[in-house]
Symmetry: C2
Subunit: 362 residues, 2 copies
C-alpha cells in the first residue's frame, strides 16, 4: 500500500494503531465470534466501553465532579438546537459570538428558541484579519449566556484563551474541531460540546460536557433524544447509541492517554502548525492573512494567487500522496486539517511539497 496522508477536515484521519486493532478484531470482538457492531448496547461488554470512554474523558480533560459527560446522536449541528432547547427560554437574551462560518450557523439556529444577540468579533484590514480579544467583547448587559466557537474549522481562525470569570456569564463553547487537542479549563464553561469526527472518532455522535446545575432548565418541546437531563439519567443510553463510534472513540481516548495526554499532544500540535505557518509565511505564493494570535492549530487555511494555481497545487499534492487539501466548498482555497491523528511526518511532507511547488511554479 502506498504511503498517503489524509488532511480531511472531518470525518478525518484516525490513529493508525487504533485502526489496525479495530480491523483485527472487526469480526471477533473480545474473542466472542461477533463484531462489536452486532452486540447490543445493553450487553456488559459495550457498557464497559461507554463507561470507560467517559472515565478517560474525565481524566484527560480534568472534568470536575459537578459536570456530566453525555454522548448525543448527530453532529455539532444537532447541538446548535439542543443547546437553546435545553438551556434558554423564548424571552431570554443570549450572546452569540460570531467568528466564522460555524458560529454564525449556531446563532441562526438558536434564533428559533431565544433572543439572540450576534456579536461579530472579526476585524478586517488590508493587511490582516483578526478577532477582538475576549476582554473586548461587547456582551449584552442582561444576557446570562455566551456561546462561541474556539476553533472555526472552515475559516482557520481560533480563540485561544478560555473565558475569564470577570464576565459573570455562563460560557458555552463548540469545541468540535479542537477538543482533546490541548488542555481546557472546563470550570470556565457551563457547557462544551464537540462532534466526534475530528479528534474523537467516527461521525455520528457528539460529546457534551455540562455543569450539573444547568441540566434542569429544558423546554417542554425538546425531543427526548436531545434532552440532556434525560440522556444523562439514562447514561447516554436513552436511545440506542451509535455503538461503533463509541467503541472506536474509546480506543482513540486510550491512544491519547498513551501519547502522554493533552499537554503533550498540545506541544506536538503546536509544532505541527508552526511548520506549516512558517512555510506559508516564507513563501509569497501562499497567503494567510489571519493574525498570528488567531491562527488555528488544527485547520491551516491558505489561498494562492489564482484558482488555477490552487487546482494545480491540489492535483500535484495528490500525486505526492497528500489528499483532501481542498478548502471548504463555500470558501475555496487550500485547507490542511492536522488533527491529533495526523503524524508530524505528514505535516513535514506537506511542508516539503509546498516549498518545492513554490520554487517550481513561481
Amino acid at each position: 500500500m502506498k504511503k498517503v496522508y489524509n488532511f480531511s477536515p472531518g470525518p478525518s484521519v484516525l490513529p493508525k494503531e487504533v485502526m489496525l486493532k479495530a480491523k483485527k478484531e472487526f469480526n471477533n470482538f473480545n474473542n466472542s465470534g461477533f463484531s462489536i457492531l452486532e452486540i447490543s448496547h445493553r450487553d456488559k461488554s459495550f457498557i464497559k466501553i461507554i463507561r470507560n470512554s467517559e472515565k478517560i474523558i474525565r481524566e484527560l480533560l480534568l472534568v470536575p465532579d459537578n459536570y456530566s459527560i453525555i454522548f448525543c446522536h448527530g453532529g455539532a449541528r444537532g447541538q446548535f438546537s439542543a443547546i437553546p432547547m435545553n438551556l434558554f427560554h423564548s424571552k431570554e437574551k443570549v450572546d452569540y459570538i460570531i467568528s466564522g462560518y460555524w458560529s454564525k450557523l449556531a446563532a441562526q439556529e438558536a434564533k428559533k428558541y431565544c433572543l439572540v444577540n450576534e456579536i461579530d468579533i472579526r476585524e478586517f484590514t488590508d493587511k490582516e484579519m483578526k478577532l477582538k480579544s475576549m476582554e473586548m467583547w461587547k456582551l449584552t448587559k442582561d444576557s446570562k449566556y455566551v456561546h462561541y466557537c474556539p476553533n472555526e474549522t472552515i475559516d482557520g481562525v481560533a480563540i485561544h484563551p478560555t473565558p475569564s470569570c470577570f464576565y459573570k456569564k455562563i460560557f458555552i463553547a463548540d469545541y468540535s474541531s479542537s477538543i482533546l487537542s490541548h488542555p481546557i479549563n472546563i470550570k470556565s464553561f457551563g457547557v462544551i460540546y464537540a462532534g466526534f469526527q475530528k479528534n474523537i472518532g467516527p461521525s455520528g455522535t457528539t460529546l457534551v460536557i455540562i455543569k450539573n446545575d444547568l441540566l434542569e432548565n429544558v423546554n417542554y418541546f425538546t425531543p427526548s433524544i436531545l434532552n440532556y437531563s434525560l440522556q444523562n439519567k439514562n447514561q447516554s443510553m436513552y436511545n440506542t447509541p451509535t455503538t461503533f463510534s463509541i467503541y472506536l472513540a474509546e480506543m482513540v481516548l486510550k491512544w491519547i492517554k498513551k501519547k502522554g495526554g493533552l499537554k503533550r499532544i498540545n506541544i506536538v500540535n503546536q509544532n505541527k502548525s508552526k511548520i506549516l505557518y512558517e512555510t506559508i509565511d516564507k513563501n509569497n505564493c501562499y497567503i494567510n492573512k489571519i493574525s498570528q494570535k488567531n491562527r488555528s492549530i488544527m485547520n491551516i487555511v491558505f489561498h494562492m494567487q489564482s484558482s488555477f494555481m490552487e487546482n494545480l497545487f491540489l492535483k500535484e499534492a495528490r500525486k505526492n500522496g497528500l489528499f483532501f487539501l481542498e478548502g471548504h466548498r463555500k470558501k475555496g482555497g487550500i485547507r490542511a486539517s492536522i488533527y491529533n491523528a495526523m503524524p508530524i511526518s505528514g505535516v513535514k511532507k506537506l511542508s516539503r511539497f509546498m516549498k518545492k511547488f513554490a520554487i517550481q511554479n513561481y
Copy 2:
C-alpha cells in the same frame, strides 16, 4: 473461531459476507489507503454510496416517485419526536395504536406536540393475547393521522396486513424491526421509518420514507437535524451523516438484492419463524400465548415455567453457541430475534437445542 449464533434484538447480526468484505477493506477503502471512516461525507466516493443506498431501497421496496428517502441521525426514538414535529400541530388529534412497548412510548413522546388518542388494540384472554384486526380499530372521527408499529420487537407481536384505503387517514408506521424483511405497500402510508440496527445496518441512523406532500408542514421549533424537509433538500447531508452506518447499509442492501429481494427473503423469514413457533407449540415447557395471526416473524418470544428454568436455558444455550436470547430487561423470558441476517442454520440449531432441553429438563 467457534461457530456461534447471535440472536441479539439490536444492534444485531449482520450478513457474514458483508462483514468479511468490510473487514477486508477496513483500512483501505477503494484502494485509497484510507478507511471509509476517514473520508469526508462530501467526497464523491461517499456520495456514491449514499445515493446508491437510496436507489436500492427504492428498488427493493418499490418506493413510488412521489416519496422521498431520508436518512436521519439517531434511532426510531428520535423519530417519535420528529414525526409529530414535522407533521402535527398542537391542536391536531392523532390516533396512536397501542400494541406493545414501543408503540406506547411513541404515543407518550407525541403528547408533547399534539392531541394523542391512544387506542389500545390488545385483547387478553386466559388462552391467548390477540390484537384487534385493522378493520376493527376504533379510530377518532376527526383525526387525520394514525401511527402504529407493525412489529413490536419486545412483545413479539405483529400487525401483518398493511392499511386499507377505506379509512381515509394518513398512516404512519414504525417499521424498525421488520423493514426489508418482506414487501411493503408503501402507497398505503404517509410515512414509514425504521432504525438501522435490525435489518439495515449498524445503530445510529434511521431510514425515513415520506410522501412528498407531507414535507412542508414542519413546526417552527423543530431542530434542523430532525427537519425532514431540510434533510431532504440537503439529500441527508445537512448534518454530517454517520458515514460508516450508511456504508455498511449499502452493502447489506446489495446483499438483500443478491438474495432475491424482499419476496424471496420473506419466504425464508416465514420458514425460519415457523420452525421456532412449531418447536414452542409442540413442547409444553415453552409458552407463547400470542394469537397465531399476531405472531412476529422477526422476534420470537416465549416464557418458561420459572425464571430458574429460563436462566438454565440461557446458560445452556450459550454453552451451545446460541447467544443473546435473553428477553427484554423489562419483560424477561426468552427472545430469539431472527432478522434477515440470521441464517436458517442458526434457527435450526436453536430448535434442536430447544427440543433437547425440553426432553432433558421436563
